[in-house]
């Protein structure tokens, strides 16, 4: 049923420890969100590919895993299903399937529900730890939880202990918190050439530069190190910005793409109405990716033409 895609398998291996963390942190909730996501996501892709006689790509498993890990733990399951169906259908199958999509599938689905149901998602945080003992009833409405994610704390001027951020001992979406595991996954993917290290470094650099610049400009709530560790910044930088299909192909374009994503993410989460800006930043980055590639190609062609005329003149 699935196409064999070794690259995508490696991403899945890299995501496995983060998945285990989400089960430790939120218990059955994490499993329920994952089950719905995979069933609906793979189902939608299968419906489309069946007619064309093609096989379902393993890339859809990666999209589903990333989407599930980026959901807040107490999210209603029908929202989960709606988002991944939208992502796979509108962002991928409509564009012709695997390898043709312009926008990141997981981010498109996540952003769609994030904008449409901002209230429901914003009220879906749960206390972490203990296999989801804090989660209460699995399917019924969850008691209102008044805790704040580190990002919300920082916005209101509170401070967050760095060690807790590193170890993932904080509230957040299912898979964004364990920084140590995300960094390990980044090293693994970079070492096995599964993901492009330039994109990760450029994104982190863009975020650091923007946060540092804002700090110097006197916007106190944007502390550079914390803004990289809080929210989904690293998760997105490692797994979403490096999506080989939607990222630019040429090296100079990749640097520009990463820097743009990092900077836009920090700017949006600092100034806009939304507490988190990483998903928007990826979608804006995706919009710019083709143009960056095109400009890099044009610049390379101009350089070549100039070298050719210079060589011709010499000869």
């Amino acid at each position: 049923m699935f196409q064999k895609q070794p690259l995508m398998r490696k991403v899945l291996w890299a995501l496995a420890p983060i998945g285990l963390y989400s089960i430790w942190a939120y218990g059955l909730r994490a499993l329920a969100v994952a089950a719905v996501t995979f069933a609906v996501g793979v189902g939608v892709e299968w419906l489309f590919e069946r007619k064309k006689g093609g096989k379902t790509s393993e890339a859809v498993l990666v999209s589903c895993a990333l989407y599930a890990l980026s959901m807040p733990p107490a999210v209603p399951l029908w929202i989960v299903a709606l988002g991944i169906a939208f992502g796979v259908f509108m962002a991928k199958e409509v564009y012709g399937g695997f390898g043709r999509n312009v926008f990141n599938v997981a981010i498109a689905g996540r952003l769609f529900v994030y904008i449409s149901f901002a209230g429901a998602l914003g009220a879906s945080w749960l206390p972490h730890g203990g296999f989801g003992m804090g989660a209460g009833n699995l399917f019924g409405p969850v008691d209102a939880y008044s805790g704040a994610t580190p990002l919300e704390l920082m916005r209101t001027g509170g401070s967050v202990p760095i060690l807790d951020l590193l170890l993932g001992l904080r509230d957040g979406t299912l898979g964004e918190a364990p920084i140590v595991l995300i960094l390990a996954a980044a090293v693994y993917m970079a070492a096995t050439k599964t993901a492009n290290w330039k994109l990760m470094v450029a994104t982190a650099a863009g975020g650091l530069a923007a946060a540092g610049g804002l700090l110097l400009a006197g916007v106190a709530k944007a502390l550079p190190l914390e803004s990289l560790l809080a929210g989904s910044f690293l998760f997105v930088a490692v797994f979403m910005a490096t999506d080989p299909v939607t990222a630019p192909k040429k090296a100079p374009a990749q640097w520009a793409y990463g820097l743009l994503i990092g900077a836009v993410a920090v700017v949006i989460r600092t100034f806009s109405l939304f507490p988190e800006g990483t998903s928007f930043a990826i979608l804006i980055g995706n919009s710019f990716a083709s143009l960056f590639d095109r400009m890099a190609a044009d610049a390379a062609a101009r350089k070549k033409a100039r070298a050719a005329t210079a060589a011709g003149g010499a000869a």
Binding site: A108, S272, L273
Partner: protein, 200 residues
């Protein structure tokens, strides 16, 4: 007279009108030429340049006409028609000047210059200028920023369309359909900027 020459930080306004309040991505003005011309990368470049130039000049001229002719005479109710005439006149004069001064540029702009007369982004920018009661400097900065934002958006879309062109898109969605979906996703990204800098 109840207008000022200068009321808002022009640098903030400039960046806001390019990025955070992009005239295409957040107001959806100028869609017709945006969709039809973005088929071709080079034409998009020419049209974007032309829109930016015309928008800046017409906003300046319209501001003067509005506050030194229409307002003193109490003829604000004619402003729509007058603005359209101003746009048409500016485009016409610009066309003649460019034809004289730089035939190469004239050829490269080609059909796009007259097309701009009916580009709603231009009229839209001028009406925003009137509604938001911008001063002269602000009007010019806002119009130049909006033009650049329009230019940026059409270049983004043209590059993406170049990439999507040969995809096996479902038959019913080929051409304008998939382009509308692409624009939707781009606009979804730009929603992130909402509430950042208030231009209105």
């Amino acid at each position: 007279m109840d207008f000022e020459f200068f009321t808002m930080n022009p640098i903030a306004l400039f960046f806001a009108s390019i990025f955070t309040s992009n005239i295409l991505m957040s107001n959806f003005l100028g869609m017709c030429s945006f969709i039809s011309v973005s088929k071709d990368y080079k034409s998009s470049f020419g049209l974007g340049l032309a829109v930016t130039v015309v928008m800046t000049i017409t906003a300046a001229v319209s501001w003067v006409v509005l506050y030194y002719v229409l307002v003193p005479l109490g003829l604000e109710y004619l402003s729509f028609i007058v603005f359209i005439i101003v746009i048409a006149a500016v485009v016409q004069i610009l066309e003649m000047v460019i034809d004289r001064a730089s035939p190469a540029l004239y050829l490269s702009l080609g059909i796009f210059l007259p097309l701009i007369t009916v580009n709603c982004a231009i009229l839209g920018a001028i009406l925003f200028m009137q509604i938001r009661q911008y001063g002269f400097i602000e009007s010019v900065v806002f119009a130049a920023g909006s033009g650049l934002g329009w230019w940026l958006a059409i270049m983004l879309l043209a590059a993406i369309r170049g990439r999507v062109e040969n995809n096996p898109v479902p038959a019913g969605l080929k051409g304008a359909g998939i382009t509308m979906i692409t624009i939707g996703f781009m606009a979804m990204g730009f929603i992130g900027f909402s509430g950042m800098i208030a231009v209105q």
